[in-house]
Subunit: 391 residues, 4 copies
């Protein structure tokens, strides 16, 4: 029997559910060197949290994250809370000698992100930020193909992350619309994913950006607690309308260190697009394109074939020799959103057991925040902005 890895998870909403599911399933479908044990779940509302614990199989619940971090029996702290709280929890966890698994974006400011990175490095613990889309099998495959030179030199990167849950002006206020809590809107939530994917897929860094942020609906009603979905929250205790202090849409142009150029767009106002996280990467010898709404397939064009046989090929990444896919079902039996979290937890556990690194780590997370901040600066200054380099 494998040794145990005791987990304390902070946060029990959307991400809390995806992580709980991942801990439940990872050992059923992958051979693990350490077996995760779901010890503590922690969130603000005690009764709700206990119900959550019962449902997903956490041994204990708490409404005090410091209690969880202080528990000597815990090996891994998993942070699923809004961005503003990532830094204090992660730093405390590292100082207590825990490994840290943190939702994205790593922090609401580069300053916080740097502090978090320093803390985990000083503590010598494993650290990972959960950019889950890296671990769609089709996306992992894309990375392998680019690294193997299958599209040649990367020249143009185009990425959009389109959602539409704020199109309706009666969609309620939530923490995701408040700058002090969320840091930013579509920018930090969705561009964070796009930036991480761009870094992951190209193996290159974004060095300069120019961007534009836009809020289309500037006031929204406070919720009555009846909502569901990405931005749902309990009764806010407030009434009337609140001011939206984050962007609805964020677009930017980018230059990469290696000479490529890119366009990026994140929005929650793209009517009809639900979770349309898409990239298309043009290289000197081929192109790769992918879209989460068809997450199991990767589009690939190669100039290596005869000109009258070239075309975009739809690779269904469900074969046993595709990343992660062999652990699940036969070819063509599709995976879904939640599998990306299982894959992340699996890789984290392997790294912890091996004492090695796992990507994306807090440096990756901090570099992503550096790009996000540069775009925000650019949107204020009206010109191109250099991106700070996090070492």
């Amino acid at each position: 029997m494998a040794d145990q890895l005791n987990v304390g998870m902070i946060g029990a909403r959307f991400m809390g559910r995806t992580h709980s599911n991942a801990y439940t399933k990872v050992g059923q479908f992958f051979d693990l060197p350490l077996q995760p044990v779901m010890k503590w779940v922690c969130a603000r509302d005690g009764d709700e949290t206990q119900a959550f614990a019962d449902r997903f199989g956490w041994s204990k619940s708490s409404d005090d994250w410091e209690e969880v971090v202080a528990d000597k029996g815990i090996d891994l702290i998993d942070i699923c809370t809004p961005g503003a709280t990532h830094a204090p929890i992660a730093i405390a966890a590292a100082q207590a000698g825990k490994h840290v698994f943190c939702e994205k974006p790593l922090a609401n400011s580069l300053d916080d992100a740097r502090k978090m990175l320093a803390a985990v490095r000083e503590a010598g613990v494993r650290h990972m930020v959960n950019f889950n889309y890296r671990r769609c099998p089709a996306v992992s495959l894309a990375r392998q193909m680019i690294a193997a030179g299958e599209i040649g030199e990367v020249r143009q990167y185009r990425a959009v992350y389109l959602q539409d849950w704020l199109v309706d002006p009666s969609a309620p206020m939530s923490w995701r619309l408040e700058k002090e809590v969320a840091g930013s809107g579509a920018h930090g939530d969705l561009n964070a994913h796009l930036i991480d994917l761009a870094r992951f897929l190209t193996g290159d860094e974004i060095t300069r950006v120019v961007g534009d942020l836009k809020t289309f609906v500037t006031e929204r009603p406070y919720p009555d607690g009846s909502g569901a979905g990405i931005g749902a929250s309990g009764d806010s205790g407030k009434s009337g309308v609140g001011k939206v202090t984050v962007d609805d849409a964020a677009v930017f142009l980018a230059r990469f260190a290696g000479g490529a150029i890119g366009t990026f767009e994140a929005t929650r106002m793209a009517t009809g697009r639900k979770n349309y996280n898409r990239f298309e990467i043009s290289g000197s010898k081929g192109t790769l394109a992918w879209n989460f709404e068809e997450m199991n397939t990767l589009e690939y064009y190669s100039t290596a074939e005869p000109t009258n046989r070239q075309g975009f090929k739809t690779i269904m990444a469900t074969e046993p020799d595709h990343p992660y896919a062999g652990a699940w079902w036969p070819p063509g039996h599709l995976l879904g959103y939640e599998h990306t979290f299982v894959h992340g937890v699996r890789d984290l556990i392997q790294a912890i057991a091996a004492g090695g690194d796992v990507a994306p780590d807090f440096r990756d997370g901090a570099q992503c925040v550096a790009v996000l901040e540069a775009v925000e600066s650019s949107a204020e200054s009206g010109g191109w902005q250099d991106v700070e380099r996090v070492e």
Copy 2:
């Protein structure tokens, strides 16, 4: 805390894994009147079965299904074995007063299916055959739309279920290629799904058929136990080549009681198609089309709109008001193959708790076998064949 429903599962290969996963997850994502408890898993190889039990959280393992059926503490027998063994297990389970959940096709002969139906009726237990594709949210939605008249009168039904895992002539022998065990090939395996979906979606019955069965590769090597995938099996203990005694492809034309006509094709020889289970239903006022390889979306055309605004609409069935979808993730966060099993188990548990019926039941399963048999008779006789009606 909900009362318990103690489950004994027979079979621990591909379907055993999908069912185990379903029991694990169903209570985390749905509110249940009874909580399933994973008591026994039973399969031929004892050591493997114990490892399976450990991995998926079954309390006990056995290599004797009669032992499991005899356990008075068991409420539900779940049958995941090859078709030839469905009848004895199901009948014994019913006679022991257990509810029965059975993989498809219900039986390898209509005669067996009728006996199974008689047994569960006499015992007064709940019975369900697991045609899982009914419970893709997009498919359930299609049924709702047809029942509501949204495509008018159904006129033409076209269905194909295309796989390709036997295209390679070196793909090994398995029980799925032996008529005595599997009953038939693509026909019983895949046409069974198509027939069930046709009955479910149209609410109508197939009354006459004419068909053709074809085996393209007639001999295959016995496996060495190294394989994976749909037809994988352990070392067969045999060497050399075995004779394939089932069809690789099975096609038929159908007439429905209500006046519609249909075409059906099942094959494991459709190079490049992995799990391409597709229907297109033309009605007097609209059309619905779906394909498992894009399982989260349903195509809908309606003549109710102005002629210059008509078109096929891609409905992504991940909204809170789509069947089953609200239990999972926000819109656009895709579900996968395994979710269909969770939905089936959820509906079965609800039916057991309520003492009511659940579809598809053993009568549905038997009617499907009646169509399968009529096609086989037709393929021998060379002419149209009436389908027996199971009451």
Copy 3:
């Protein structure tokens, strides 16, 4: 300057327009050994026909096809009339020593088709039946690929030709719905195309069939002359409702001489499908699929690639080294429906100049009628039917 080829065209409705356009354009985009000259157009209504001649540039109009056939200055008779008149016109034309270009299906009966074939052979003239879809660049490419072995041995052929212009029960009567004129409905109109494509693409012959014909709307109003579209006709001079004496839908199973099996469906009742002429051909090493509604692209799957790089590839057949495409525009600048006719006329003219054969010729046309008739016989007899072989 190239020599002239003087053309007399009989018929001036839908097909008359496509052929007129072809004669206008062919010399502008292709280098021709003979320059077609648009001499006579002939149709029933004299005034309308003269207007048609003026519009499309025919020198003269007539309402008497025998006058045109008798004109010693005419080299090629082009038959665009309903099927029932093909035989008398083609036979007279051949006997007058004219080359004959005939719309599909070649004839309404195999007997007529054989007589036409005999006549053109005896006269030693060139003969071609216009199955235009062979000459979509993507379809021609598919034929080249199959002939080169790029999908291996053909095993399964699936074809549908779906239209919906008869879904509306108020769509009016026309000659296309009268058996005495049109021969059959969707069957002769659309299955004729599917059968020809199957023969062309596989290079094989259909030897046995079993089929089903169905009429869903059995009575329709006579037109008032206001209509447009495929089935449009002038004022019929009749009032009230007429009896539809042809099929709305025709489906059949087929066996090929080389061992392949096939499914075929033609219908004018597939709501939302406008001109959805599709094939998917599964071979032992690959698959090809195409659909007219995306006519510029061909789908190709090959097992020659590594398993984790396989996928369906969309080849856009607009490159200079694709069939016919180089004569037109740069890559990606799409061609349309009418181009297929230009390509046919070009190949016919080349054959006439060279004194060689051109495909599909009247033997091809007659073999297609033989398959159509066998399906009709099967629909009456209720069993499989052998297809006569036309030598």
Copy 4:
């Protein structure tokens, strides 16, 4: 018989062919108040031009555009030459009292464009710039739908025009790669189309931009005259390599007067994309998307439907009540690239006959150049740039 409109066309390469085809066909498929007569074609190489005239049916050829403009019998001058020559020809034509039809972009500088606009206004002649993509039926339909409020308020505009004919570093030099002749690269060639479509579709103006231009391959071999395709040219008379002085890719962010934001990308380096001219317009009530490579269809999402019936609808714009489509073939019988030119010529002829305006006119053309120039300025200055307004 309609009166004549005598045409003199300057330029006889790619665009010369598309325009010649348009004049040939427009009267066959549309009822016209004036019949275009193909009088003069003019281009540099006399022999080639005469061959061109013979092939397409122009009465006379010339290698001196001033001769053509001076011909009193000519009513319309059609300019198909590279951008640098547009201004002198158009201004001379206007001063000679001819109507002017000019290829895009209108001019290589805003200054030239303003002079051209002044000239045609002063002469009181009709003027049109040929942004042909406006007249794809699906694009015209999109404009109608936006104008009718079917997507509500336009919020986000995203456009890409992707080609790949310069990916190969051995693709030769041509006038299109020389700044003095072409003005710019992908920017003027392709972004010109995107900008015009954005203005047309939204009915709004772009007021501020920030952009980036990039050349990936800076030197190319001079051609030997053997080439074909978009950038083909005769033997340049030069040898060795030439310096590429235009951009390969041009990207920019935009703000619209009405509050919308946009992203634009033009490139000839998007491997695998042949003529991928795409827009997606997110509005407060719906979305419209289109891509030339599937030019016959328009994607439409509307929030007016119930939430569980919403989806992207593929409208095939080939119905009789779609713009332009009724003049051609039955529904589903696709149109191609060249039809857009026929539609433009038809609308121009109608405007000339009626003495009215036609869009896009030279003011539209000049405004497009204003946006192009602002992007170029921004690429130099590194910041946002206001767009000049052309009245």
